[in-house]
Amino acid sequence: MKPKEFTNWINRIYATKDKELDCDTAQSLLSAYVEVELNGAAMHPLAAEIESHLLQCPDCTETYQGLRYLLKLEASGELAPADKEAAPAQSRPPESELTPVATP
């Protein structure tokens, strides 16, 4: 482990929340999260929870970065859109739809 990696690790440990989104839930929210983020007009209602997950999960971060890249290309016209629907307005899903990591 390199020194910088050690301090990053310590930061990850202390950034741990009692409840965090699991990967399946975070993945299901990513497409809307990235659209809202690039739109810039509002904040996704679960932005804090998603960002907290991304901080801890390299694989979901890879998905997020790929999505972000593709949507930026799409917005600049380099990926022709195949649908005419604007990103829907966001509202926070009911708690029952969320599956935070359950811990004993």
Binding site: C23, Y69, L70
Partner: protein, 217 residues
């Protein structure tokens, strides 16, 4: 069919017969472009491939992604554009397959052997330091090692070593532990909570630890 609404995509893909076939063909063509761009621009490890090889790879990933998309149509929340939602399946299919091709050789023994090596390296990086500071760092590392060895289960230790210390992908470590990435995340979350809890119980905040490493490495 171009420029569909979300509802039009869903209806066409849920329909059977010609309408579904047409929608699938259109989505396949579109996602193939998406996959080609993703592989070309976001996967530097493929830069040596000819465009025909890249296209063949993209076709395979899109075919698998389309099957997943069809299986998961009912999980589409409608909170994004339908096509944005489908990109995720292409990215995940490509990333997952490429990770598997890349690693292939990690064993549980390798993870176990390196269990505490990472922290020992940090603990020993004290040459030239003020003796008091060097002693404080060593004490901290001893404490961290003790927490990892006494508080965490074997699976939690292997998960922390693989993902946090060695920087391996969640998928690679999950495969070795014969579990899903979702379960691995939960294992890591529990491990992080235990470590954090013990450190806080010892009145050690993040600032206290980081301050020991601000001087010099």
């Amino acid at each position: 069919m171009t420029n569909h609404t979300n509802e039009e995509w869903l209806q066409a893909l849920r329909h059977s017969g010609e309408e579904q076939a047409k929608a699938l063909e259109e989505l396949r063509d579109y996602l193939l472009r998406v996959a080609m761009v993703y592989l070309r621009d976001r996967r530097p490890e493929l830069s040596g491939l000819a465009s025909s090889e890249l296209r063949e790879m993209a076709q395979d990933f899109v075919q698998e992604a389309l099957l997943s998309i069809q299986d998961n149509l009912d999980t589409f929340r409608g909170d994004s554009k339908f096509t944005t939602w489908t990109y995720r399946f292409v990215i995940n299919q490509a990333a997952s397959e490429l990770r598997r091709r890349h690693y292939g050789t990690l064993s549980l023994d390798q993870l176990a052997e390196e269990e505490t090596a990472a922290l020992k390296i940090v603990a020993e990086a004290t040459a030239g330091l003020d003796p008091d500071l060097a002693a404080e760092r060593r004490d901290l590392m001893v404490q961290l090692l003790e927490i990892i060895q006494s508080e965490l289960s074997e699976r939690q230790r292997l998960a922390i070593v693989g993902v946090h210390f060695q920087g391996r992908s969640m998928q690679e470590v999950a495969d070795q532990l014969e579990t899903s990435t979702n379960t691995l995340y939960k294992i890591l979350h529990d491990a992080r909570k235990k470590i954090k809890g013990r450190l806080l119980a010892s009145h050690l905040g993040a600032g206290d630890i980081l301050a020991l490493f601000e001087t010099r490495w």
